[in-house]
Symmetry: C2
Subunit: 192 residues, 2 copies
């Protein structure tokens, strides 16, 4: 997929709200265009070609289909998704960390079963959006709790003005974003 196809789709169907929110509900976050998702998966996989990835880690919910599409394009490494709540069916030991959402003004705990992250794992972190980077940083903490390596962080849409990629790059991570948004002003979307 060309970056242009994704940008065009964001411009045509995306909805900027205020100064910080972008809704892409028609193809990624509520309704999913699965053919387009597969192209997104291939494009993200290309960015990490040559990295030997043993697992892909994401967080529920909208990260899951993106992570599965990347897995498919990478020869099917397992996808693990961190959970935001602790259902009563999750009984064994978990790695957990708190993640702040600036958009929703909440703090949530994300958890992953210890058995699905091993010290020898090389983890690719995938998400739909990169904003303030809190969610991605939380996922890197889960990986490091397991003694595993983060091979990189790949996202579909980065809102660069919210500073997440700068934070992650400063921490030493390779960050790849298919579309980078410079600003959202009164709902107007400007790309980098």
């Amino acid at each position: 997929m060309s970056m242009e196809a994704l940008k065009e789709r964001i411009v045509r169907e995306g909805q900027g709200i205020g100064r910080g929110v972008l809704k892409v509900d028609s193809f990624l976050n509520h309704q999913i265009d699965v053919a387009f998702l597969d192209e997104i998966g291939r494009a993200l996989a290309e960015r990490f070609a040559g990295c030997s990835v043993t697992k892909i880690l994401t967080v529920e919910s909208s990260g899951i289909p993106v992570a599965c599409a990347v897995s498919r394009a990478m020869g099917y490494p397992p996808v693990v998704f961190a959970k935001k709540a602790a259902p009563n069916t999750m009984v064994e030991g978990v790695y957990s960390t708190d993640v702040k959402s600036f958009t929703k003004e909440t703090v949530s705990t994300i958890r992953v079963s210890r058995k699905f992250l091993q010290p020898e794992d090389r983890i690719l972190i995938i998400d739909d959006f990169l904003a303030y980077g809190e969610s991605a940083l939380g996922l890197t903490r889960l990986v490091r709790s397991a003694g595993a390596d983060v091979t990189g962080i790949g996202v579909v849409i980065e809102k660069r003005f919210q500073g997440g990629s700068a934070k992650l790059k400063q921490a030493g991570f390779q960050v790849e974003s298919l579309a980078v948004i410079r600003s959202i002003t009164d709902g107007n979307i400007e790309f980098q």
Copy 2:
């Protein structure tokens, strides 16, 4: 995928808990084996071959990857996933209904944007599990709120002893389950 392959996987990796809970966290509900997921998608798509499906409806989170796999096998009808919370980015009109979870002993509201369900839609409902049928029934209510048709309900694993499929069939829906579990007793899984 043969039903046998799925059953074997459930026996080998699934964890029955008490008299009602089945965890298949190693390939479906926490870690996802995406190659196996694609086989599941093809098997479910076959069950509804010939139905003209315009959209696939599921509910977050673990239903999403299954729905995407079915979409891929059906020539890419859009997937819509109902949301369990109302994030502040979801501002337009929604269809909503309350769904009881017997497992978690909670009631949650599931919502879908009105713009993603149209009266002319023929909706295939897909989920990972069918237990008491409350979630699937909730999804059928959302479809009917929009004046659209339910073409059928497809799930990966049905716990028949919890009565969901009987309830749904009585309401006139075609229900297709790839694996049907008759009982879970002291963690022991018996198939139909």
